[in-house]
Amino acid sequence: MEKQIKKVDLIFGKVDHLAILDACFKRTRDEIILDVIDSGLRGRGGAGFPTGLKWKFAKNEEADQKYVICNADEGEPGTFKDREILTQVPEKVLAGMALCGYCIGASEGYIYLRGEYNFLLPPLYKAIDEFHQKLKKMNFDFTIRICSGSGAYVCGEETALMESMEGRRGEPRNKPPFPTSEGFLGKPTSVNNVETLVFALMIGQEGPTKFKEMGTFDSRGSKVFSVSGDTPNPGIYELELGMTLEQFVEEFGDGDTKAVQVGGASGFCVSRKDFKSTLIGFEGIPTGGSMMLFNSSRSMYNILNDYLEFMEEESCGQCTPCRVGCQQLLKGIEAVKKGIKPPSYLEDLQKLSDTMRIASKCGLGQSVPNPFNSIINNFREEIIY
């Protein structure tokens, strides 16, 4: 391999988070927001919106109350990094929230923690209590609370998340208005992923330069990857962005990798022939961290079937393209497999999935075509026979 993938330790390394905050509070919020914009940091939950811009939009709103929400509804299959971050360095996440609060002018923050991670509640409450006391000493008014989810993948979508926090079904809202102008309880809200908040804190400490120097033009910095599937080294790794899938597989594959699913059930399946030309990042294939490796012993039909079953169950059912589309795609590949429908039926299904991309209301339905089309295009014969 030409270049070793660079391992980074910005997220899990211990820092004096209070000293970072203290130093940041001495600077103006515009300066910090400019640093975050300049660093090129983009949201680490998957969608990749520029974090600094989000903060700027929320800051520019006039309101009596604003909110910071830490999105810890980590539901994407193959992703488990946020749990690890919240377990190992909760204080950095809380400090990142406070920094966001300072920048946008919010005095309240919420962590939306998925119900599957309820075992994290006691240590998190403890960390929050300690953090509140420290903030009091620093004379900074910021309160953090936790909202628990109850097992709904779609609540990771920021507007569904806020619906859930408001005590309703987790059905995504129409956008615009965007949360930065009308979010939780109708107030300007910045919703950021767990990992994003920690990166923002680290940029607060080190300035934008070090972060900006890593990665590529569109994908600056490093990223925490969740590696699972057929690999001798499953786990959580912070890596510099900009590597190709070939480099990744070289490092994590078992020597027989036939495909990698980049970005979970809503991401893309890349087959061996494209490893070399595929860049992991926003100019190639973006990921919220999920990297699932499959070796040649795996049936791609079973994998696609699993993903579609997942999406069909987790679709909120609010909009027709997604609700009916997920069901029909699932039934469709089953029918083709059983020979009830001819192989050419896959083309009809792909048209349906294209419609879902255009017509679905939120990211869930819009991204079902990603695994569907990429698996069908790469492994058509495995779906049919």
Binding site: P77, G115, S148, S150, S164, D230, G235
Partner: protein, 155 residues
């Protein structure tokens, strides 16, 4: 006042009666009663001044807010791809044989329910299961037998 109504009232006092309190109250009732009965949902609707349909509509959206009776210990085995690859079917078979219940069922003594769940966020340590809020990663049929036996002894 029935036990459920008392519990709901107590939770409403604790969390407040705004709509934002609905989720925490529903979650607390499930924690203590194992599910949301019609009576519980009616009581919540009354306390929070909502329609019962609204409460049911919200509760039924969420997988973890059961509206059918469940056992004291709800076992949720992750079924999503990596856990599937690493043998979740065998885990389910083992538990099913031990407790003499199929997926989706509850033991007659109302102690255990056996369910599947979508990705629990432990793909690098699959197969994994939750028993209520407790997580058990990297399980094998042997380990799972031991774990369930401990719960059987627990009463």
């Amino acid at each position: 006042m029935t036990k459920i109504k008392e519990l709901v009232k107590e939770q409403a006092e604790k969390h407040g009666r705004a709509r934002t309190s609905l989720m925490p109250i529903l979650q607390e009732v499930v924690r203590s009663e194992n599910y949301l009965s019609e009576e519980a949902m009616e009581a919540i609707a009354e306390e929070l001044d909502l329609s019962t349909a609204d409460v049911f509509g919200t509760a039924s959206f969420y997988t973890f807010l059961d509206t059918v009776p469940r056992g004291k210990y709800v076992i949720r085995v992750c079924k999503t791809i990596t856990c599937h690859m690493k043998g979740k079917d065998e885990i389910i078979r083992t538990i099913s044989d031990m407790l003499k219940i199929k997926l989706g069922e509850t033991t007659t003594d109302k102690k255990f329910s056996l369910l599947q769940a979508n990705c629990l966020g432990w793909c690098h340590k699959g197969p994994v299961m939750l028993i209520n809020d407790e997580v058990y990663p990297e399980i094998t049929p042997e380990k799972v037998t031991e774990i369930v036996n401990q719960y059987l002894k627990k009463g």
